[in-house]
Amino acid sequence: MKIHLTRRYRFAASHRLHSAQLDEEENKRVYGKCNNPYGHGHNYVVEVAVSGPVDPATGMIANLSDLDAFVDREVIEPFDHTYLNEQISEFSERVPTTENICIEIFNRLREFPNAKLERVRVEETSLNSFEYMGEPGSNR
């Protein structure tokens, strides 16, 4: 039997979808309203799934207080109430689509010391969500 533990977190942030590799016209066509030069925001939900042996002394894969502190420090604190394009250095060059946000969050959490990171799922709205499980064969 394999067991994954999943915890949901939230942050609110703004972003603008604009690619330096596309001209003005193409940016408007590709990103539509999301290309508004002033940006716009979302209430993001982040699901973090980890796996590992259940410690018989605690009944836990990982203590939630450790997971919460790690996710808060690596993701929620730096991302919450920010303009992602300007305030998260990884998005200065990379378009902060939810695909890229999902990958960035996975990369920030992959070193969680108490369990193995299995999956990051990000909901941009209640209708859109994206999942990333790392690259096959990568050492994670």
């Binding site: 994954h4 915890r7 259940v54 410690d55 836990m60």
Partner: protein
């Protein structure tokens, strides 16, 4: 392959306490969950069965049959119970979401005779859930429920 999911809810109380820990250690590791009087949750259980629909009925398995199994195996033994004291299969274990989900998997797995039990997902709150998979179904490589002294949990 079709994956069919049925959801049920049950309400139960529990507390986290390891008699091998000191009182101080219990409080530090388990926090509010160590309250000796216990506390409760409305658990939501999603049970997913994988299989091919029977051409004669169009069903992987009869939902009524699955509903009866869930009633008998889960609701009857866990709903409105204090899990530490009233579910013998949890005796000697900390009734975390991980351990409860594993017990439910073991209750259900032998009872599902049409299709295969694919996943047991147990929500303790809307923001915390555990998924159990059989060895052949999972997407991860967790070695399952087993002691491992090298894996300290907040100690």
């Amino acid at each position: 392959m079709i994956y069919l999911t049925r959801k049920i809810e049950f309400s139960a109380s529990h507390l986290y306490h390891n008699p091998a820990f000191s009182a101080e250690e219990n409080r530090r590791v388990f926090g509010k969950c160590n309250n000796p009087h216990g506390h409760g949750h409305n658990y939501v259980l999603e049970v997913t069965v994988a299989g091919e629909p029977d051409p004669a009925t169009g069903m992987v398995l009869d939902l009524k049959e699955l509903k009866d199994i869930l009633q008998r195996e889960v609701t009857d033994s866990m709903d409105h119970r204090f899990l530490n004291y009233e579910v013998p299969e949890l005796a000697g274990q900390i009734p975390t979401c991980e351990n409860i989900a594993a017990v439910i998997w073991r209750f259900l797995e032998p009872k599902i005779t049409r299709g295969n039990l694919h996943r047991v997902r147990l929500y303790e709150t809307p923001d915390l859930f555990v998924d159990c998979y059989g060895e052949s179904n999972g997407t991860g490589t967790a070695p399952g429920v087993r002691g491992d002294e090298s894996r300290g949990v907040s100690r």
